[in-house]
């Protein structure tokens, strides 16, 4: 456990001593800030329209702003996850520092989990930006915090799954760009798989749709904690890390 923490701290240190963490934070902050501003604008306009039509129905901040924004975060997260995971193993393989880790008296799985946790740590920092924006809603409005908390849990679970996949892909190559591109492709594929359910109801379509990360995000974004979806993400995490461990083992045999 101490070893996991050692690796995790070192990885977080590497993120924050190189420009990568700051660039990601900046980009994410700007993009999310824009989306938030946009959603708020829509909300205000819609509110005014309703008043003008003389049918002042109470508008729900959770429904109008938080839920769609959380869903958006899940989607733009896809663009950030490859950038977070690409260096985890690819860089160590390229510079040869993997030899240091692999010959130290620690288990492979401790290295893997340490790195994966660090990636989750950086992603959590991105999510903190959204928390700042949502904070304004709590200051000037009265949204329900429970759906928001569940939404965050969903985002973290989804990201943890994708980060595990990204970590796995990073062990396969020495080239960070290859790792990022492949991770991005797979993330995107898992997102668009959900689209088939719109017109197709065959078994295949339901399997694809089940594999899609976005379908499982829907209920989380609405603030509904469905154990089915949580189990799905935990399964993705498990397999992601499992394949990473296998890949590292084969790295030892091959290299």
């Amino acid at each position: 456990m101490r070893n996991v923490w050692t690796i995790c701290r070192k990885e977080l240190g590497s993120y924050f001593t190189s420009p990568i963490a700051y660039i990601l934070l900046l980009m994410f902050g700007v993009i999310f800030g824009f989306m938030f501003w946009n959603a708020l604008g829509e909300f205000i306009v819609a509110g005014m329209e309703m008043q003008m039509r003389g049918q002042p129905t109470p508008m729900n901040l959770n429904e109008w702003i938080i839920s769609p924004l959380l869903h958006n975060v899940a989607v733009i997260g896809l663009f950030f996850i490859p950038l977070i995971t690409m260096r985890l193993f690819a860089e160590e393989k390229r510079t040869g520092t993997i030899e240091l880790l692999a010959t130290s008296p620690i288990r492979d799985i401790e290295i893997i989990i340490g790195k994966w946790l660090a990636a989750i740590g950086l992603y959590s920092c991105l999510l903190l930006f959204t928390a700042v924006n949502f904070g304004f809603l709590f200051k000037y409005g009265n949204p329900d915090w429970k759906p928001l908390a569940i939404g965050y849990l969903g985002l973290l679970l989804e990201a943890a799954g994708l980060l595990a996949i990204g970590t796995f892909i990073s062990t396969l190559t020495k080239n960070q760009i290859v790792a990022a591109a492949a991770t991005f492709g797979i993330c995107l594929l898992l997102l668009v798989f959900g689209w088939v359910s719109a017109y197709d109801t065959s078994t295949w379509a339901s399997v694809l749709s089940y594999l899609s990360l976005s379908t499982h995000m829907e209920s989380f974004a609405k603030g509904v904690l469905d154990s089915k979806d949580a189990v799905f993400y935990v399964t993705v995490i498990f397999f992601g890390l499992f394949f990473t461990a296998r890949s590292m083992e084969s790295l030892r045999w091959r290299s």
């Binding site: 050692t6 240190g13 590497s14 001593t17 510079t95 520092t97 692999a102 008296p105 045999w253």
Partner: protein, 335 residues
């Protein structure tokens, strides 16, 4: 301390290490010698548990590299060919990180970091970014990380590659210095390095063990008997080689004289003596008393380089058969 038996590593298309066996006793410095691509790095990587062997076994301090790999790793310090450093870290931060990986904590860790910085002369770059260090400093930081947990065994893969002559000397001195406390295996393809630093040599070529012996024995073995080079000159212009030869032959203990070359009034003779006889003084006296000049007199010890080429050179056809039983461990694979 280290025992390797019939160690083999096969890849899809080639065999990098082919049934190698050797032993290293505690406290020894062993030079691992071979041309590039001979399988040195592969053997070291197996010993450090970076990769598992395809066959045979290797134990370090009594622990098997495959079955008890974590125990082995606790007892090994490893400096790979390129020092495994993170350019974005500071020297002391990096050493602390490595120390933690190796299981050091708290006050112990701080003490060891200070100690290895002192030992490897990197105190003045303690708070510098590793990425900004020169090659020599990086190598020393690499050595520092290898010894941070005071391991029983040090494995150094080409520790002096790419350094300038001054740095090479410093690194060699440091390694020799460390020998008292650690058992060291260092690989190199630079021969004088082995002659200067190591007590024992393991020569491999194309994945096979060619020889394993002490430096001195290897030199003696390649020669068989002792031989001395004598250059004789004459003042009055003409030197009769057969006469000199005859004179030298008469010296007690000499078993053979060969004229290697003759230039004008100077000639070089190689004089072989019976084992254990010291003939140099008598040779000198014989030459001078006969009225010739003695220009040069030196033992014709074969340099390791010559031995190495003799042992690994396959084209020359006169490859000396390894004498010790250990060295005959090579087996032809059907291909």
């Amino acid at each position: 301390m280290i025992s390797v038996k019939e160690l083999t590593k096969r890849y899809a298309h080639n065999t990098a290490v082919d049934h190698i066996s050797f032993e290293v006793a505690k406290g020894q410095i062993v030079g691992f010698l071979g041309p590039n691509g001979a399988g040195k790095t592969t053997t070291m990587r197996i010993l450090t548990c970076f990769m598992p062997p395809s066959g045979g076994e290797a134990t370090v301090a009594g622990f098997d590299v495959l079955e008890q790999s974590l125990e082995v790793r606790k007892r090994i310090g490893y400096l790979p060919e390129t020092p495994p450093i993170y350019p974005e870290m500071e020297t002391s931060e990096y050493l602390k990180f490595v120390g933690k990986l190796k299981g050091l904590r708290g006050a112990d860790l701080q003490k060891r970091v200070d100690y290895v910085c002192e030992r490897c002369a990197i105190v003045d770059v303690k708070s510098k970014l590793l990425g900004k260090l020169s090659k020599g400093y990086r190598q020393r930081v690499g050595l520092a990380q290898a010894i941070i947990h005071n391991p029983d065994v040090l494995i150094l893969d080409e520790p002096t590659a790419g350094l300038d002559p001054k740095q090479i000397n410093e690194t060699r001195d440091l390694i020799k210095d460390l020998a008292g406390e650690h058992t060291i295996i260092l690989s190199t393809h630079i021969l004088p390095e082995v002659e200067q630093t190591c007590e024992q040599v393991i020569i491999i070529n194309k994945g096979k063990l060619v020889a394993t012996d002490s430096v001195r024995n290897l030199q003696a073995r390649a020669r068989g008997a002792e031989s001395v080079l004598v250059e004789v000159g004459s003042r009055n212009g003409s030197l009769q080689v057969p006469v000199v030869e005859q004179k030298l032959q008469q010296v007690a203990g000499v078993s053979g004289v060969v004229c290697k070359e003759q230039v004008d009034s100077r000639a070089m003779f190689e004089v072989e003596s019976q084992k254990g006889r010291l003939v140099r003084g008598d040779l000198a006296r014989a030459v001078v008393e006969s009225g010739w000049d003695l220009n040069e007199l030196r033992p014709a010890a074969m340099s390791l380089e010559e031995i190495f080429l003799q042992l690994t050179g396959s084209e020359s056809g006169e490859v000396e058969k390894p004498a010790t039983a250990e060295t005959a461990a090579s087996k032809e694979l059907p291909q």
